[in-house]
Symmetry: C2
Subunit: 248 residues, 2 copies
């Protein structure tokens, strides 16, 4: 297996050591080699290196220390703007300000981001995705001056790991793969798929720390609660509307 894929982990603690411009350029170039919708490259990558800008963005990412610690923050944006500007400048009428093209542009941005992640790791760097980019998309738009047609989809810190991070467990591969058709999960399947994780020491520690009887309730009552999920849904949808992805 490709080394970087096998050894990928989310690194949450960084030294302040900068990432060289040469390496950053390799990472960004790697991002651009990913497939994109019709080779339209419907994304932009905003690179944040300025310490003040990282401080400003930190609250958008719930003040996770890595946002300030790591020397580079990459914000991957769905971008129908650049392509639409080009079309208009050529007398062509772009109709990309709609939901399907948000999905296409988000897809382009996300495939590019995964290339960037792996390329960073190939240079001995660590990365951590910040899913918070969609929670606080409107604030990020403001801070990064994202104009109409551009919206954050994900973000990632990049830097030199301060500590060793162990690999995270995953569900068994056959728990997420279906052959020919989707075979719905029986209660026994569900028990089997989560068995190892539920019985792990890590889970035991989490249950004790949270005073809850099982891992699922840590997810629904602590990490990703219904009211928060619905608030994020509304605010991200609203941000997409404001940024011009629902004009039609």
């Amino acid at each position: 297996m490709i080394n970087e894929i096998r050894n990928h982990r989310s690194v949450r603690s960084y030294t302040g050591e900068p990432v060289s411009e040469e390496v950053l350029d390799e990472i960004l170039t790697a991002a651009t080699r990913a497939s994109t919708t019709g080779n339209m490259q419907l994304y932009s990558i905003v690179v944040t290196q300025d310490a003040e800008m990282r401080e400003k963005l930190a609250p958008c990412h719930f003040n996770q220390p890595c946002v300030v610690q790591a020397p580079v923050l990459l914000t991957f944006c769905a971008d129908i703007r650049r392509f639409s500007l080009w079309c208009r400048q050529r007398g062509a009428e772009p109709v990309y300000d709609n939901f399907a093209w948000f999905v296409n542009a988000a897809t382009d941005a996300l495939l590019a981001s995964q290339n960037a992640a792996l390329e960073a790791e190939a240079h001995g760097l660590g990365i951590c995705y910040l899913g918070t980019a969609i929670y606080t998309a409107r604030q990020i738009c403001e801070i990064l001056s994202l104009p109409e047609g551009v919206v954050p989809v994900t973000a990632m810190v990049v830097g030199h790991p301060a500590t060793e991070t162990p690999l995270t467990d995953r569900l068994p591969v056959d728990g997420v793969v279906h052959r020919e058709i989707y075979r719905d999960y029986t209660p026994e399947d569900i028990d089997r798929i989560w068995h190892k994780r539920e019985r792990s020491e890590e889970t035991a520690g989490l249950l004790e720390a949270n005073g809850l009887p099982n891992l699922a309730r840590i997810f629904t009552e602590r990490r990703y609660r219904g009211e928060d999920n619905l608030a994020i849904s509304r605010s991200y949808m609203e941000c997409l509307r404001e940024q011009g992805f629902f004009n039609q």
Copy 2:
């Protein structure tokens, strides 16, 4: 740069030679090593190898010959179902049937897909993403028996390339990267960014074949037309609703 990233191309012509189960397993395992939202793995991968099933799916991908030629078709789905079933089975109340969690689950599916693409290429295979997965999502749901909480986000053929495919050009890296804030594009920027592509022999050939004066109009009038884009927007949104991603 990671070899597979540097040499990635979309392969559209395949020999019928099968992909071994060992290699397929490596590809699928690589997919599961990607980061996911809270390590929730909100995706499923449906593997289509059966020739009859590939024939059935071909119209969903506009009968591109590669869908029938290539021995493996992977459909990457956003999946909040498995996680929600697990929660309910543990007495936890999942509230993931909403737009934010479609975005999270789609993100998980897409990062996994890019790992799969690169890992396939590491084994000498070719791949081609099929963006058509969102155009015909409802039909794909039917053919693959995708239940509530599961929706296709992208698809990919995998197989042994029948021919050499040249690398595709990309916009200059500085045309898609912004430092600190988004610097909006001036008309001069737009001209500069597309200059090489517009002057290429490939473009000259396309203009002649299409009888149109510039590449932008090939995109807006032939490849991705307004009325089609809006129809896809509506049908994918409707499919998300039917599959239970807009319950709240």
